[in-house]
Amino acid sequence: MGPDATLIWAGSLFAIAIAIGTAFRFLSGRGHRVKTSECIDLSRLKVSKNGVLVSEFGKKATLVQFSTEYCGQCPGVRRSLSQLEYRHGSLLYIDVDITDRLDLAAHFSISQTPTVFILDGLGEIKFRIGGVPKYAIIRAELEKLGAL
C-alpha cells in the first residue's frame, strides 16, 4: 500500500471517530418515554433530604437522579436540577447515590450515571434520561405533567 492508501485509511478512521462523537453529542441525554407504568417505592429508595427521609412525592412531578461517587458530571446535574426544584413548588427533586446499591441499579437497569427519572404526581415513572440530560427536554416533560 502506498502513502495515499494509508492516508485514506487513517482519514476514514478519523471520520468514523467524528461520526460516533457527533452522534453521541446529539443522542445522549435525550431520554425516552417509559411505558411500563412502574411506580417507585420511596421506602425502598431510602433517600433523605436535609436529614429527613423522603416519604412523599412532589405534588405534580418528581425528578429522581441516580448518581455515583465516581461520576464526574453528576454534581453539575445535581445543581441545575436543584435550581429547578427551588423555583417550582410542586416539583420534588431527589438524588440517589447508588455507588453501593447495585441492587437498585440492577432493578432499574441503570448502566450509566447520571440517570434521571421523571415521575408523575403518583410516583409513576414517565420518562428516563441516561447521561447528562438536555435541560429543554426535562422542562418540556415537566410541563406536560403540569409541574412548571
Partner: protein
C-alpha cells in the same frame, strides 16, 4: 473513598489527546510499515502501564499538563473522581497489550489495537465521551469489577 484525591478532569483529556495522535500515526503506519506501528504501540503500552501501575511516578502527560497547560487554563468547574479515568487507562492498557503481543505473529492485530485506542482516546479528548467511564457502572453491575 473520600481520601482519594480528586482531579482536574481536563488532565486525562489532555493525555488522551496525545494518545490519540500516537494511535492514529500507529494506525497509518500499520498498513504499510507495521513494525513502526508496533514500536509506537510499545510506547503506548509503556505510557498506559505507567499510569496504571506507577503510583508514585509522575506520568509524562501529567507533568506536561501541570507544567504547560494547567497554568493557562481557568480553574476547573468541577473536580472529578480519579477512578473512572484510571479504569479507562486499564482498558487502554489491555488494548495495548493485545497489540504488542499480536505484533509477534499477527500484524493485523496491531492495526486493530491502534484503531481502538485511537477511537477511545479521540472520543475522550474531543467529545468528552469516556468509553471506559461509561462501562464502569455497567461492568460493576454484572460483577466483573470490584471497588
Amino acid at each position: 473513598m473520600t481520601e482519594l484525591k480528586r482531579i482536574d478532569p481536563r488532565g486525562p483529556r489532555f493525555g488522551a489527546a496525545i494518545t490519540s495522535v500516537f494511535a492514529i500515526i500507529a494506525f497509518g503506519f500499520s498498513l504499510d510499515n507495521w513494525v513502526y506501528a508496533w514500536l509506537i504501540l510499545w510506547v503506548l503500552f509503556a505510557l498506559f502501564a505507567l499510569s496504571v501501575f506507577g503510583k508514585n511516578i509522575t506520568h509524562p502527560y501529567s507533568y506536561l499538563f501541570q507544567k504547560f497547560v494547567r497554568p493557562r487554563l481557568a480553574a476547573p468547574a468541577e473536580l472529578e473522581d480519579p477512578r473512572p479515568p484510571h479504569f479507562a487507562q486499564q482498558v487502554g492498557l489491555s488494548f495495548a497489550v493485545f497489540g504488542v503481543i499480536s505484533g509477534f505473529f499477527w500484524p493485523l492485530g496491531v492495526t486493530i489495537a491502534a484503531a481502538f485506542i485511537f477511537l477511545a482516546a479521540f472520543l475522550n479528548a474531543f467529545f468528552g465521551l469516556c468509553l471506559g467511564c461509561q462501562m464502569y457502572l455497567g461492568l460493576r453491575r454484572i460483577g466483573l469489577l470490584r471497588q
